[in-house]
Protein backbone atom coordinates (compact mmCIF):
# COMPACT_ATOMS: atom_id res chain seq x y z
CA UNK A 1 0.00 0.00 0.00
CA UNK A 2 2.33 2.73 -1.07
CA UNK A 3 0.79 5.84 -2.44
CA UNK A 4 1.09 9.40 -1.37
CA UNK A 5 -2.13 10.52 0.28
CA UNK A 6 -1.17 14.11 -0.42
CA UNK A 7 -0.64 13.69 -4.16
CA UNK A 8 -3.84 12.65 -5.78
CA UNK A 9 -5.78 14.68 -8.25
CA UNK A 10 -4.30 17.56 -10.17
CA UNK A 11 -5.94 20.11 -7.95
CA UNK A 12 -4.69 18.42 -4.84
CA UNK A 13 -1.19 17.65 -6.02
CA UNK A 14 0.20 20.59 -4.12
CA UNK A 15 -1.18 19.46 -0.80
CA UNK A 16 -3.19 21.67 1.50
CA UNK A 17 -2.51 25.40 1.42
CA UNK A 18 -3.29 27.90 4.16
CA UNK A 19 -3.51 31.64 3.60
CA UNK A 20 -4.22 34.09 6.40
CA UNK A 21 -6.06 37.22 5.37
CA UNK A 22 -6.60 38.86 8.72
CA UNK A 23 -5.36 38.23 12.22
CA UNK A 24 -5.52 40.15 15.47
CA UNK A 25 -6.07 39.41 19.11
CA UNK A 26 -9.70 38.37 18.71
CA UNK A 27 -9.95 36.75 15.30
CA UNK A 28 -8.08 35.01 12.55
CA UNK A 29 -9.45 34.74 9.04
CA UNK A 30 -7.85 32.19 6.82
CA UNK A 31 -8.37 30.18 3.70
CA UNK A 32 -7.73 26.46 3.57
CA UNK A 33 -7.43 25.15 0.05
CA UNK A 34 -6.58 21.87 -1.66
CA UNK A 35 -8.30 20.00 1.11
CA UNK A 36 -11.49 18.02 1.10
CA UNK A 37 -14.69 19.39 2.56
CA UNK A 38 -14.86 16.48 4.98
CA UNK A 39 -11.57 17.45 6.55
CA UNK A 40 -12.41 21.15 6.50
CA UNK A 41 -15.66 20.39 8.29
CA UNK A 42 -13.91 18.19 10.84
CA UNK A 43 -11.64 21.08 11.69
CA UNK A 44 -14.62 23.40 12.05
CA UNK A 45 -16.54 20.98 14.24
CA UNK A 46 -13.60 20.25 16.45
CA UNK A 47 -12.83 23.95 16.98
CA UNK A 48 -16.45 24.55 17.91
CA UNK A 49 -17.04 21.72 20.26
CA UNK A 50 -14.07 19.71 21.39
CA UNK A 51 -11.23 21.94 22.48
CA UNK A 52 -10.71 21.64 26.23
CA UNK A 53 -10.93 24.88 28.19
CA UNK A 54 -11.74 25.79 31.76
CA UNK A 55 -14.98 27.20 33.15
CA UNK A 56 -16.68 27.53 36.52
CA UNK A 57 -18.61 24.37 37.21
CA UNK A 58 -19.33 24.41 40.92
CA UNK A 59 -20.33 27.35 43.09
CA UNK A 60 -20.61 27.38 46.84
CA UNK A 61 -22.55 30.38 48.00
CA UNK A 62 -21.88 31.49 51.53
CA UNK A 63 -23.74 34.77 51.53
CA UNK A 64 -26.07 36.20 48.96
CA UNK A 65 -28.27 39.08 49.94
CA UNK A 66 -28.46 40.46 46.42
CA UNK A 67 -31.75 40.46 44.56
CA UNK A 68 -30.61 37.65 42.27
CA UNK A 69 -31.20 33.98 43.06
CA UNK A 70 -28.22 31.76 43.85
CA UNK A 71 -28.64 29.60 40.76
CA UNK A 72 -29.03 32.65 38.56
CA UNK A 73 -25.67 33.93 39.74
CA UNK A 74 -24.14 30.48 39.45
CA UNK A 75 -25.22 30.31 35.84
CA UNK A 76 -23.73 33.70 35.08
CA UNK A 77 -20.50 32.66 36.74
CA UNK A 78 -20.35 29.56 34.59
CA UNK A 79 -20.41 31.63 31.44
CA UNK A 80 -17.50 33.88 32.44
CA UNK A 81 -14.58 33.14 30.10
CA UNK A 82 -11.47 32.07 31.98
CA UNK A 83 -7.93 31.99 30.67
CA UNK A 84 -7.17 28.45 29.49
CA UNK A 85 -3.41 28.79 29.24
CA UNK A 86 -1.84 25.50 30.26
CA UNK A 87 -5.20 23.72 30.56
CA UNK A 88 -3.65 20.65 28.89
CA UNK A 89 -1.80 19.87 32.10
CA UNK A 90 -5.03 20.07 34.09
CA UNK A 91 -6.89 16.79 34.59
CA UNK A 92 -10.55 16.23 33.96
CA UNK A 93 -12.16 15.94 37.39
CA UNK A 94 -13.60 12.55 36.53
CA UNK A 95 -10.10 11.23 35.77
CA UNK A 96 -8.58 12.67 38.91
CA UNK A 97 -7.89 10.57 41.98
CA UNK A 98 -9.33 13.12 44.35
CA UNK A 99 -12.74 12.89 46.01
CA UNK A 100 -14.43 15.91 44.50
CA UNK A 101 -11.85 18.37 43.22
CA UNK A 102 -8.25 19.32 43.92
CA UNK A 103 -5.52 21.53 42.50
CA UNK A 104 -4.74 18.92 39.83
CA UNK A 105 -8.20 19.13 38.30
CA UNK A 106 -9.61 22.50 39.25
CA UNK A 107 -8.96 26.15 39.95
CA UNK A 108 -10.60 27.89 42.86
CA UNK A 109 -11.94 31.42 42.53
CA UNK A 110 -13.47 33.50 45.28
CA UNK A 111 -15.80 36.44 45.15
CA UNK A 112 -16.56 38.62 48.11
CA UNK A 113 -18.20 41.97 47.68
CA UNK A 114 -20.30 44.16 49.93
CA UNK A 115 -21.89 47.44 49.01
CA UNK A 116 -20.92 49.84 51.78
CA UNK A 117 -21.45 53.11 49.91
CA UNK A 118 -24.57 55.08 49.13
CA UNK A 119 -24.71 54.10 45.47
CA UNK A 120 -25.49 50.77 43.88
CA UNK A 121 -22.37 48.75 43.25
CA UNK A 122 -21.46 46.70 40.18
CA UNK A 123 -19.69 43.39 40.69
CA UNK A 124 -17.82 42.21 37.62
CA UNK A 125 -15.52 39.39 36.58
CA UNK A 126 -12.52 41.37 37.80
CA UNK A 127 -13.68 40.76 41.35
CA UNK A 128 -13.32 37.00 40.93
CA UNK A 129 -10.01 36.25 42.57
CA UNK A 130 -8.19 33.00 41.86
CA UNK A 131 -6.89 31.43 45.03
CA UNK A 132 -4.90 28.37 45.98
CA UNK A 133 -2.35 26.47 43.93
CA UNK A 134 -2.51 26.73 40.17
CA UNK A 135 -0.69 25.17 37.24
CA UNK A 136 0.45 28.62 36.17
CA UNK A 137 -0.33 32.19 37.02
CA UNK A 138 -2.81 32.65 34.18
CA UNK A 139 -4.87 29.49 34.24
CA UNK A 140 -8.37 30.27 35.44
CA UNK A 141 -7.99 34.04 35.59
CA UNK A 142 -11.08 35.78 34.20
CA UNK A 143 -10.54 37.12 30.70
CA UNK A 144 -10.77 40.90 30.72
CA UNK A 145 -10.57 42.75 27.44
CA UNK A 146 -12.57 45.93 27.96
CA UNK A 147 -10.76 49.22 28.32
CA UNK A 148 -11.90 49.76 31.92
CA UNK A 149 -10.44 46.41 32.92
CA UNK A 150 -13.64 45.26 34.59
CA UNK A 151 -14.68 42.28 32.56
CA UNK A 152 -18.26 41.05 32.19
CA UNK A 153 -20.79 42.39 34.72
CA UNK A 154 -21.91 39.69 37.14
CA UNK A 155 -24.49 41.42 39.31
CA UNK A 156 -25.29 44.67 41.08
CA UNK A 157 -25.62 45.26 44.81
CA UNK A 158 -27.71 47.82 46.62
CA UNK A 159 -26.29 49.50 49.71
CA UNK A 160 -25.91 46.92 52.47
CA UNK A 161 -26.15 43.86 50.24
CA UNK A 162 -23.37 41.33 50.20
CA UNK A 163 -22.20 38.46 48.03
CA UNK A 164 -19.69 35.89 49.15
CA UNK A 165 -19.01 32.72 47.25
CA UNK A 166 -16.40 30.25 46.13
CA UNK A 167 -16.21 28.87 42.59
CA UNK A 168 -14.58 25.72 41.35
CA UNK A 169 -13.51 25.96 37.73
CA UNK A 170 -13.01 22.69 35.92
CA UNK A 171 -11.77 21.48 32.59
CA UNK A 172 -14.30 20.52 29.96
CA UNK A 173 -15.31 20.72 26.32
CA UNK A 174 -18.10 22.63 24.60
CA UNK A 175 -19.81 19.43 23.49
CA UNK A 176 -20.83 19.00 27.12
CA UNK A 177 -21.68 22.62 27.76
CA UNK A 178 -21.19 25.73 25.63
CA UNK A 179 -19.50 27.53 28.51
CA UNK A 180 -16.37 25.58 27.60
CA UNK A 181 -16.34 26.86 24.02
CA UNK A 182 -13.09 28.70 23.27
CA UNK A 183 -14.58 30.44 20.27
CA UNK A 184 -17.30 33.04 20.14
CA UNK A 185 -18.13 32.09 16.58
CA UNK A 186 -16.57 30.24 13.71
CA UNK A 187 -17.36 31.43 10.23
CA UNK A 188 -17.09 28.81 7.54
CA UNK A 189 -17.91 29.22 3.89
CA UNK A 190 -16.91 28.04 0.45
CA UNK A 191 -17.85 28.60 -3.16
CA UNK A 192 -18.80 32.31 -2.89
CA UNK A 193 -20.30 32.36 -6.37
CA UNK A 194 -22.44 29.32 -5.67
CA UNK A 195 -21.07 27.55 -8.73
CA UNK A 196 -21.74 24.21 -7.09
CA UNK A 197 -25.38 25.10 -6.44
CA UNK A 198 -25.14 24.02 -2.84
CA UNK A 199 -27.25 27.02 -1.95
CA UNK A 200 -30.66 27.68 -3.37
CA UNK A 201 -31.14 31.42 -3.00
CA UNK A 202 -34.58 32.77 -2.31
CA UNK A 203 -35.33 35.80 -4.45
CA UNK A 204 -38.02 38.20 -5.63
CA UNK A 205 -36.87 38.58 -9.20
CA UNK A 206 -33.06 38.38 -9.46
CA UNK A 207 -30.88 36.69 -6.83
CA UNK A 208 -27.72 38.44 -8.07
CA UNK A 209 -29.20 41.85 -7.40
CA UNK A 210 -30.83 40.96 -4.13
CA UNK A 211 -28.06 39.03 -2.39
CA UNK A 212 -24.89 40.89 -1.45
CA UNK A 213 -21.73 39.22 -2.74
CA UNK A 214 -19.66 37.29 -0.23
CA UNK A 215 -16.60 38.94 1.23
CA UNK A 216 -14.59 36.23 -0.54
CA UNK A 217 -16.23 36.78 -3.93
CA UNK A 218 -13.05 38.44 -5.23
CA UNK A 219 -10.97 35.45 -4.22
CA UNK A 220 -12.52 33.19 -6.82
CA UNK A 221 -13.34 33.57 -10.50
CA UNK A 222 -16.99 34.39 -11.05
CA UNK A 223 -18.69 32.00 -13.45
CA UNK A 224 -18.56 33.09 -17.08
CA UNK A 225 -21.78 34.16 -18.72
CA UNK A 226 -23.75 31.10 -19.74
CA UNK A 227 -21.16 28.71 -18.26
CA UNK A 228 -22.58 25.19 -18.09
CA UNK A 229 -22.94 23.57 -14.68
CA UNK A 230 -19.87 21.51 -13.82
CA UNK A 231 -21.26 18.42 -12.17
CA UNK A 232 -17.77 17.10 -11.38
CA UNK A 233 -16.73 20.14 -9.39
CA UNK A 234 -16.09 19.79 -5.67
CA UNK A 235 -15.49 22.54 -3.14
CA UNK A 236 -11.81 23.19 -2.74
CA UNK A 237 -11.39 26.53 -0.99
CA UNK A 238 -12.69 27.01 2.53
CA UNK A 239 -12.85 30.33 4.33
CA UNK A 240 -12.71 30.29 8.10
CA UNK A 241 -13.30 33.15 10.48
CA UNK A 242 -12.28 32.07 13.97
CA UNK A 243 -13.23 34.50 16.69
CA UNK A 244 -12.12 33.84 20.24
CA UNK A 245 -14.06 34.57 23.39
CA UNK A 246 -10.83 34.94 25.32
CA UNK A 247 -9.67 31.61 26.79
CA UNK A 248 -7.27 30.93 23.92
CA UNK A 249 -5.71 33.07 21.23
CA UNK A 250 -7.50 32.76 17.87
CA UNK A 251 -4.61 30.95 16.22
CA UNK A 252 -4.31 28.87 19.37
CA UNK A 253 -7.86 27.65 18.71
CA UNK A 254 -6.87 26.48 15.24
CA UNK A 255 -3.73 24.66 16.36
CA UNK A 256 -5.52 23.19 19.37
CA UNK A 257 -8.32 22.04 17.08
CA UNK A 258 -5.89 20.17 14.88
CA UNK A 259 -4.29 18.73 17.98
CA UNK A 260 -7.64 17.43 19.20
CA UNK A 261 -8.23 15.61 15.91
CA UNK A 262 -4.78 14.12 16.15
CA UNK A 263 -5.33 13.00 19.70
CA UNK A 264 -8.54 11.30 18.66
CA UNK A 265 -6.67 9.48 15.92
CA UNK A 266 -3.69 8.67 18.11
CA UNK A 267 -5.99 7.14 20.67
CA UNK A 268 -7.69 4.97 18.08
CA UNK A 269 -4.39 3.90 16.52
CA UNK A 270 -3.10 3.11 19.96
CA UNK A 271 -6.10 0.99 20.68
CA UNK A 272 -6.00 -0.84 17.37
CA UNK A 273 -2.32 -1.65 17.40
CA UNK A 274 -2.48 -2.71 21.00
CA UNK A 275 -5.20 -5.21 20.13
CA UNK A 276 -3.18 -6.72 17.28
CA UNK A 277 -1.38 -9.11 19.57
CA UNK A 278 -4.61 -10.58 20.84
CA UNK A 279 -7.62 -11.98 19.07
CA UNK A 280 -8.63 -9.30 16.63
CA UNK A 281 -10.08 -6.19 18.15
CA UNK A 282 -11.98 -7.75 20.92
CA UNK A 283 -9.13 -8.18 23.31
CA UNK A 284 -9.46 -6.53 26.66
CA UNK A 285 -8.35 -2.94 26.66
CA UNK A 286 -6.38 -1.23 29.29
CA UNK A 287 -8.13 1.85 30.55
CA UNK A 288 -4.89 3.79 30.26
CA UNK A 289 -5.90 5.81 27.28
CA UNK A 290 -7.94 8.10 29.44
CA UNK A 291 -4.97 9.41 31.31
CA UNK A 292 -1.91 8.37 29.40
CA UNK A 293 1.32 9.50 31.00
CA UNK A 294 2.49 10.87 27.67
CA UNK A 295 -0.15 13.55 27.72
CA UNK A 296 -0.59 13.32 23.98
CA UNK A 297 -3.02 10.48 24.27
CA UNK A 298 -4.73 11.89 27.27
CA UNK A 299 -7.72 13.15 25.41
CA UNK A 300 -11.05 11.86 26.48
CA UNK A 301 -14.41 13.19 25.60
CA UNK A 302 -16.41 14.53 28.42
CA UNK A 303 -19.73 12.92 27.84
CA UNK A 304 -20.75 10.05 29.97
CA UNK A 305 -18.56 11.26 32.76
CA UNK A 306 -20.33 12.24 35.88
CA UNK A 307 -17.30 13.62 37.58
CA UNK A 308 -17.78 17.02 36.04
CA UNK A 309 -21.23 17.51 37.34
CA UNK A 310 -21.75 17.54 41.02
CA UNK A 311 -25.25 17.68 42.33
CA UNK A 312 -26.01 20.79 44.20
CA UNK A 313 -28.09 18.98 46.76
CA UNK A 314 -25.13 17.36 48.42
CA UNK A 315 -23.22 20.25 49.87
CA UNK A 316 -25.01 22.51 52.27
CA UNK A 317 -25.74 25.80 50.62
CA UNK A 318 -23.79 24.84 47.52
CA UNK A 319 -25.10 25.01 44.02
CA UNK A 320 -23.67 24.14 40.67
CA UNK A 321 -24.24 26.12 37.57
CA UNK A 322 -27.68 24.94 36.53
CA UNK A 323 -26.51 23.28 33.34
CA UNK A 324 -24.33 20.89 35.25
CA UNK A 325 -27.41 18.82 35.91
CA UNK A 326 -29.28 18.78 32.67
CA UNK A 327 -30.65 15.44 31.64
CA UNK A 328 -28.37 15.66 28.63
CA UNK A 329 -25.17 15.04 30.45
CA UNK A 330 -25.22 11.32 29.86
CA UNK A 331 -25.76 11.12 26.15
CA UNK A 332 -24.47 13.56 23.64
CA UNK A 333 -26.99 14.36 21.03
CA UNK A 334 -24.47 16.59 19.40
CA UNK A 335 -21.87 14.31 17.95
Amino acid sequence: MDYDPMAMDDAESLGPVVKISQADSVRVKFELSNADISFANSLRRVMLGEIPTIAIDLVEIEENSSVLADEFIAHRLGLIPLNAEGVESLLYSRDCDCEEYCEHCSVKLTLHAKCTGEENMSVSARDLVPSGDRMNQNLGTPVITDSDGLGPLLLKLRPGQEIKLECIAKKGIAKEHAKWAPSAAIGFEYDPHNKLRHIDYWYESDPKAEWPPSEYADWEEPPAEGEPFDYDAVPNHFYYNVETSGPLSPDGIVTEGIKVIQQKLAMLIHELTEGDGGDGYNGPRSPEYNSGPDGGFGYSTSYGGNGGNQSSWGGGGGSTTPFGQTPFQGGNSWS
Partner: protein
Protein backbone atom coordinates in the same frame (compact mmCIF):
# COMPACT_ATOMS: atom_id res chain seq x y z
CA UNK B 1 -22.48 -16.94 31.22
CA UNK B 2 -25.49 -19.19 30.83
CA UNK B 3 -25.89 -20.32 27.28
CA UNK B 4 -27.96 -23.30 28.14
CA UNK B 5 -31.54 -22.05 28.05
CA UNK B 6 -31.65 -21.28 24.38
CA UNK B 7 -34.37 -23.75 23.61
CA UNK B 8 -36.94 -22.50 26.04
CA UNK B 9 -36.68 -18.93 24.82
CA UNK B 10 -36.98 -19.65 21.11
CA UNK B 11 -39.32 -18.07 18.60
CA UNK B 12 -42.65 -19.53 19.66
CA UNK B 13 -42.94 -18.52 23.25
CA UNK B 14 -46.41 -18.86 24.61
CA UNK B 15 -47.71 -15.48 25.55
CA UNK B 16 -48.94 -16.41 29.01
CA UNK B 17 -45.48 -17.34 30.25
CA UNK B 18 -44.30 -13.84 30.85
CA UNK B 19 -45.36 -10.28 30.20
CA UNK B 20 -44.62 -9.31 26.61
CA UNK B 21 -42.09 -6.79 27.69
CA UNK B 22 -40.00 -9.64 28.99
CA UNK B 23 -39.72 -11.67 25.87
CA UNK B 24 -37.77 -9.59 23.40
CA UNK B 25 -35.19 -8.88 26.04
CA UNK B 26 -34.64 -12.55 26.60
CA UNK B 27 -34.45 -13.26 22.93
CA UNK B 28 -31.95 -10.54 22.27
CA UNK B 29 -29.52 -11.60 24.91
CA UNK B 30 -29.62 -15.10 23.57
CA UNK B 31 -28.98 -13.98 20.04
CA UNK B 32 -26.07 -11.86 21.06
CA UNK B 33 -24.37 -14.75 22.64
CA UNK B 34 -24.85 -16.87 19.61
CA UNK B 35 -23.77 -14.49 16.94
CA UNK B 36 -20.93 -12.57 18.42
CA UNK B 37 -18.80 -15.50 19.34
CA UNK B 38 -15.52 -13.75 19.78
CA UNK B 39 -17.16 -11.04 21.82
CA UNK B 40 -18.52 -13.46 24.30
CA UNK B 41 -15.40 -14.56 26.11
CA UNK B 42 -14.05 -11.11 26.55
CA UNK B 43 -17.24 -9.44 27.48
CA UNK B 44 -17.58 -11.75 30.37
CA UNK B 45 -14.11 -11.02 31.60
CA UNK B 46 -14.40 -7.34 31.13
CA UNK B 47 -17.55 -7.08 33.10
CA UNK B 48 -15.95 -8.78 36.02
CA UNK B 49 -12.56 -7.14 35.94
CA UNK B 50 -13.42 -3.61 35.10
CA UNK B 51 -16.68 -2.77 36.67
CA UNK B 52 -15.74 0.85 37.07
CA UNK B 53 -14.72 1.46 33.48
CA UNK B 54 -17.76 2.67 31.66
CA UNK B 55 -16.12 2.63 28.25
CA UNK B 56 -13.50 -0.01 27.76
CA UNK B 57 -13.37 -0.56 24.05
CA UNK B 58 -13.68 2.27 21.57
CA UNK B 59 -13.56 0.27 18.34
CA UNK B 60 -15.50 -2.90 17.74
CA UNK B 61 -15.49 -5.22 14.78
CA UNK B 62 -19.10 -5.85 13.93
CA UNK B 63 -20.32 -9.40 13.31
CA UNK B 64 -20.41 -10.64 9.74
CA UNK B 65 -17.07 -9.11 8.84
CA UNK B 66 -14.51 -10.86 6.67
CA UNK B 67 -10.86 -10.08 5.98
CA UNK B 68 -11.50 -7.71 3.11
CA UNK B 69 -14.96 -6.47 4.02
CA UNK B 70 -15.55 -5.31 7.54
CA UNK B 71 -17.73 -2.96 9.55
CA UNK B 72 -16.36 -1.18 12.57
CA UNK B 73 -18.26 0.49 15.33
CA UNK B 74 -16.65 3.49 16.98
CA UNK B 75 -17.98 4.48 20.37
CA UNK B 76 -18.17 8.19 21.19
CA UNK B 77 -17.33 9.36 17.70
CA UNK B 78 -19.42 11.24 15.19
CA UNK B 79 -19.32 13.11 11.90
CA UNK B 80 -16.18 14.92 12.99
CA UNK B 81 -14.09 11.82 12.65
CA UNK B 82 -16.40 9.77 10.45
CA UNK B 83 -16.52 11.91 7.37
CA UNK B 84 -12.83 12.81 7.33
CA UNK B 85 -11.86 9.20 7.94
CA UNK B 86 -14.16 8.00 5.20
CA UNK B 87 -12.56 10.45 2.80
CA UNK B 88 -9.00 9.46 3.64
CA UNK B 89 -9.71 5.74 3.51
CA UNK B 90 -11.44 6.15 0.17
CA UNK B 91 -8.26 7.80 -1.16
CA UNK B 92 -6.46 4.52 -0.72
CA UNK B 93 -6.43 2.89 -4.19
CA UNK B 94 -6.65 -0.56 -2.62
CA UNK B 95 -9.96 0.26 -1.02
CA UNK B 96 -13.00 -0.63 -3.06
CA UNK B 97 -15.60 0.93 -0.80
CA UNK B 98 -15.74 2.95 2.35
CA UNK B 99 -18.67 4.67 4.01
CA UNK B 100 -19.69 5.78 7.44
CA UNK B 101 -23.01 6.12 9.19
CA UNK B 102 -24.42 7.20 12.47
CA UNK B 103 -27.19 4.66 12.90
CA UNK B 104 -29.09 6.65 15.49
CA UNK B 105 -28.57 10.27 16.51
CA UNK B 106 -29.12 9.64 20.18
CA UNK B 107 -26.56 6.85 20.38
CA UNK B 108 -22.96 8.05 20.40
CA UNK B 109 -21.89 5.46 17.89
CA UNK B 110 -20.41 5.70 14.45
CA UNK B 111 -20.10 2.83 12.00
CA UNK B 112 -17.51 2.58 9.25
CA UNK B 113 -17.75 0.01 6.48
CA UNK B 114 -14.60 -0.82 4.56
CA UNK B 115 -14.28 -3.17 1.61
CA UNK B 116 -10.87 -3.66 0.05
CA UNK B 117 -9.49 -5.42 -3.00
CA UNK B 118 -7.36 -8.53 -2.57
CA UNK B 119 -3.93 -7.76 -1.19
CA UNK B 120 -4.90 -5.79 1.84
CA UNK B 121 -7.37 -6.19 4.66
CA UNK B 122 -10.05 -3.87 5.91
CA UNK B 123 -8.23 -3.58 9.21
CA UNK B 124 -5.01 -2.53 7.49
CA UNK B 125 -6.95 -0.01 5.46
CA UNK B 126 -8.49 1.43 8.62
CA UNK B 127 -5.13 1.69 10.32
CA UNK B 128 -3.63 3.31 7.27
CA UNK B 129 -6.55 5.70 7.07
CA UNK B 130 -6.04 6.80 10.66
CA UNK B 131 -2.31 7.30 10.09
CA UNK B 132 -2.90 9.21 6.84
CA UNK B 133 -5.42 11.50 8.47
CA UNK B 134 -2.88 12.20 11.15
CA UNK B 135 -0.31 13.09 8.49
CA UNK B 136 -2.86 15.36 6.86
CA UNK B 137 -3.39 17.11 10.19
CA UNK B 138 0.37 17.53 10.54
CA UNK B 139 0.61 19.13 7.12
CA UNK B 140 -2.29 21.50 7.74
CA UNK B 141 -0.86 22.44 11.13
CA UNK B 142 2.56 23.17 9.61
CA UNK B 143 1.01 25.18 6.81
CA UNK B 144 -1.05 27.18 9.27
CA UNK B 145 1.95 27.99 11.44
CA UNK B 146 3.91 28.89 8.33
CA UNK B 147 1.12 31.17 7.12
CA UNK B 148 0.90 32.79 10.55
CA UNK B 149 4.65 33.39 10.53
CA UNK B 150 4.42 34.96 7.11
CA UNK B 151 1.45 37.09 8.07
CA UNK B 152 3.18 38.37 11.16
CA UNK B 153 6.32 39.25 9.23
CA UNK B 154 4.35 41.07 6.58
CA UNK B 155 2.38 43.05 9.09
CA UNK B 156 5.24 43.66 11.46
CA UNK B 157 3.51 41.93 14.34
CA UNK B 158 5.52 40.27 17.00
CA UNK B 159 4.20 37.59 19.29
Amino acid sequence: MPSQLKTSGSDDVSMDDAPTSHQPQQDESMMDQDEVEDDEENDGEEEEEEEEEEEVQRVKLLPGSTETAASFEFANEGHTLGNALRYVIMKNPEVEFCAYAIPHPSEAKMNVRIQTYEGTTAIQALEKGLADLQDLCDVVNDKFLEARQKFQEQNGVTA
